[in-house]
């Protein structure tokens, strides 16, 4: 009755996977696997840094409000759409012609970050702030609602504007850099990694060195005490949403650049995996989120590439999501504080 909406594990993907298995069976096992290893690692790193930046958004909001901002993955998706639209429109206007791709990407990133940041603040104002102090499940439910709302709103607008909601992003960077003789790193992938690292460093500096960063940490520690210390808690929470969402939006632009095609449903699963990354690293911990993201990206890429050949094609790349979710479940079961987090003692 309800339409399927997770676009994955389609038959084309499955046949692709079978082809992959055949190719690597043909090349005789281990040797070929070692040959593709560098390429797999590069892909995994690209994906991992994307997870890491999105995971930062989850971790920041969780650290301060202790709610899972389910809509964060969809803010990421909105960012991807805004970036793609900016590029498509400026392409249609001829503005991209002759423009330095770095400048174009920079402008796109700024626009997407401003808009998604505003979106995040708006969501906080409408859907989370009135629920502060409510039982914990209530904001979670409203977050799921926001997530669904955003998906269909984007689909609605795109269907109105372009009559389709699968967009192909114009590629700004097409070249690739050879990495020795065995792997090539596409320029767009390198740019994803570099920008992600810049954003992470900037955020770490902001949180550790500035006045607002200290205020954020104080609010995360204890809201009421922080408010006694003349910290405007509402403003700090708004700022958190602003920064987290704009980072998510920027990652969306990078995602669209790296993978080309986007649709309104990319956010949910990617958001879940980024959340997994945040949990893996220890939620509420910035460094943990970064390392967790990179780790998860690498694991996913490795399992996607090698699970098929290792099990003789019995279990292929279609199980890589199972892998990611299993990690989530295992971490929550055995080390709920994550790799870098501190165990929280329950107050009675």
């Amino acid at each position: 009755m309800l339409a399927p909406f997770l676009r994955e594990n389609t038959s084309s993907q499955r046949s692709e996977c079978r082809k992959f298995v055949q190719v690597y069976k043909g090349n005789e096992g281990w040797e070929s696997m070692i040959n593709i290893l560098p390429q797999v690692l590069v892909d995994g790193l690209t994906l991992g840094f994307m997870y890491a930046v999105v995971a930062l958004g989850y971790t920041m909001v969780y650290g301060i409000l202790e709610i899972i901002n389910f809509a964060h993955g969809d803010i990421f998706m909105v960012g991807a759409f805004i970036g793609t639209e900016v590029l498509l429109i400026s392409d249609a206007l001829g503005a991209l012609e002759g423009m330095n791709p770095f400048v174009a990407l920079f402008i796109t990133l700024i626009i997407a970050m401003v808009l998604t940041g505003a979106l995040g603040v708006g969501i906080e104002r409408i859907a989370y702030r009135p629920l502060r102090g409510a039982p914990r499940l209530v904001p979670l439910i409203s977050a799921i609602g926001v997530s669904f709302l955003l998906q269909d709103l984007v689909r609605f607008t795109e269907a109105l504007a372009r009559n389709e909601f699968y967009l192909n992003s114009p590629a700004l960077f097409t070249g690739s850099i050879p990495l020795g003789s065995i792997a090539t790193i596409p320029t767009k992938g390198l740019i994803v990694i570099v920008i992600a690292i810049i954003m992470m460093i900037a955020l770490t500096l902001f949180v550790n060195k500035t006045k607002w960063g200290i205020a954020m940490r104080a609010v995360a520690q204890d809201q009421s005490t922080a408010s006694l210390m003349t910290i405007n808690v509402n403003k700090v929470i708004m700022l958190t949403f602003l920064i987290g969402s704009s980072l998510g939006g920027a990652t969306g632009v990078l995602f669209a650049q790296n993978y080309g095609t986007i649709d309104p449903y990319i956010g949910f699963i990617l958001g879940l995996k980024a959340f997994t990354a945040a949990v893996l690293g220890g939620i509420g911990n910035l460094r943990g989120a970064m390392i967790g993201g990179v780790l998860l990206g690498l694991l996913e890429s490795l399992s996607g590439a090698f699970m098929g050949p290792l099990t003789n094609g019995a279990f292929g790349a279609e199980y890589k999501d199972v892998f990611a979710f299993s990690i989530l479940i295992l971490v929550l079961l055995f080390k709920p504080e994550g790799l870098f987090g501190e165990a929280v003692k329950e107050k009675v």
């Binding site: 979670l140 609605f156 299993s326």
Partner: protein, 427 residues
């Protein structure tokens, strides 16, 4: 003031309800295919619930409407029975989830996995699919096996529930939601890909033809029969819900929901209570899954997505988690909204489009906007009615009546022993 007005509300007069039922049923009988009349009859159940009369009369009217009027008036029309049985399936599922979310307070976002387990259990063994991995040409089973498989589906889903429950109980709150969500996704992906190395679920192609149930040689393939099967199952689940709610276990669930730590320190075993909630909720979903598979005659993994889980959760929360009438109302409302209202609205817009009044791109079809509507409903419910449309009522025990009753005369427990002691001293 509004509160005062609500308190002075004594219920709808019985006459009004009766007129409503008679009016709409005759309207449906006379004017075939009137959607409004059909909805009027379905909504009469809500009226009956709010009618100002005794419980037994309400039950009698409700039973007459469900068992006689709806099948008699709409029985000829396959479409209405289809909608009615669809509504029934989701009501049953929502009632199952109500045990997990409403009573025990465990937010389960992977509930549909248990539904899938039941559906696949029946589908695999009632078609030739099972021959793929079981030697000997034993399958397909005939439709008579539907009835035992209701129990098999229940057991399979309960086992799934315990398997999920055992590890998951270590996490709580929103982490639990995420874990169950991940579990639901894992199950779906596994069902989607389990056509190799051994073909168990036939992968994305799905399994067909699943036989309809048979009873004494009668083939019960039409929605008319499924309506009654579902009604029977709902009656069973409602009864179970009521009995559990006021049992020792049900009180333990509510205690755990309200304050886990306090409940634990009062000697409630968290493991047992939570596990029981998971297993019971899951087992109901399993039974409904078997019915669903038999009704659709075809299942594939697209019927068991996260969207379904969220849909059922919306039903429970919209209606009022923990409140049985609320959950029934929420499930019926959401299902009718999706199955019928949105479709009708789409058809209406299409007819406008065909006559050239408005032009609408195909992608703006309202029937494709479930997620938007779910989203808005979830946000609004969270903001304005976090307890749902019909909030759960605590059962109040009239202490004076208990004292006056014949069971009150004899003192039980420690009081009884004390009075025995004192009376022993006196004699």
């Amino acid at each position: 003031m509004a509160n005062l007005a609500w308190k002075s509300f004594k219920g709808i007069p019985l006459v009004f309800t009766l007129i409503w039922i008679v009016g709409f049923s005759s309207a449906l009988y006379l004017m075939d295919k009137s959607v409004i009349a059909f909805l009027g009859i379905l909504s009469s159940i809500v009226l009956v619930y709010y009618t100002n009369t005794t419980k037994s009369i309400k039950m009698a009217i409700g039973a007459i409407v469900l068992l006689l009027i709806i099948p008699l008036v709409a029985g000829e029309n396959r479409y209405y029975m289809e909608v009615a049985s669809q509504v029934g399936i989701y009501v049953a599922m929502a009632l199952g989830l109500n045990i997990v979310v409403g009573f025990a307070g465990l937010l389960d976002l992977g509930y549909v996995a248990f539904f899938a387990a039941g559906a696949y259990a029946y589908a695999i063994f009632s078609t030739s699919q099972a021959n793929e991995f079981i030697a000997g040409n034993l399958f397909p089973l005939s439709g008579e096996w539907f009835w035992p498989f209701l129990i098999v589906g229940l057991i399979v889903a309960a086992v799934f529930g315990i398997l999920l429950g055992l590890p998951v109980l270590r996490v709580k709150g929103d982490y639990l939601a995420i874990v169950t969500l991940g579990f639901g996704e894992i199950i779906r992906i596994v069902f989607n890909n389990l056509d190799k190395p051994i073909n168990i679920t036939n992968g994305p192609q799905g399994i067909t033809p699943i036989p309809s149930p048979e009873l004494f040689g009668i083939k019960m393939g039409t929605p008319f029969y499924f309506y009654f099967i579902v009604l029977f199952v709902i009656a069973f689940i409602v009864l179970a819900n009521i009995r559990f709610e006021h049992s020792r276990l049900g009180r333990a669930w509510i205690a755990v929901r309200e304050d886990e730590l306090a409940a634990q320190s009062m000697g409630i075993s968290l493991l047992n209570t939570k596990l029981a909630a998971f297993a019971l909720g899951a087992s109901f979903a399993g039974v409904v899954g078997v019915i669903f598979a038999a009704k659709q005659t075809f299942i594939d993994p697209t019927s068991f997505t996260l969207m379904e889980s969220i849909g059922i959760l919306v039903m429970v929360i919209l209606g009022g988690s923990g409140s049985i009438p609320g959950v029934v109302l929420g499930a019926a409302f959401v299902t009718i909204l999706q199955v019928q209202l949105l479709k009708e609205f789409s058809n209406f817009l299409h007819s406008l489009q065909n006559s050239g009044i408005i032009s609408l791109p195909n992608q703006l079809d309202p029937s494709k906007f479930q997620r938007l509507i779910f989203g808005i409903m979830l946000i609004l419910v969270a903001l304005y009615r976090p307890n749902g449309l019909i909030p759960a009522k605590r059962k109040k025990n009239d202490l004076d009546a208990i004292k006056k009753s014949e069971f009150g005369k004899e003192k039980l427990g420690i009081l009884g022993r004390l009075s025995q002691l004192t009376s022993g001293k006196q004699s």
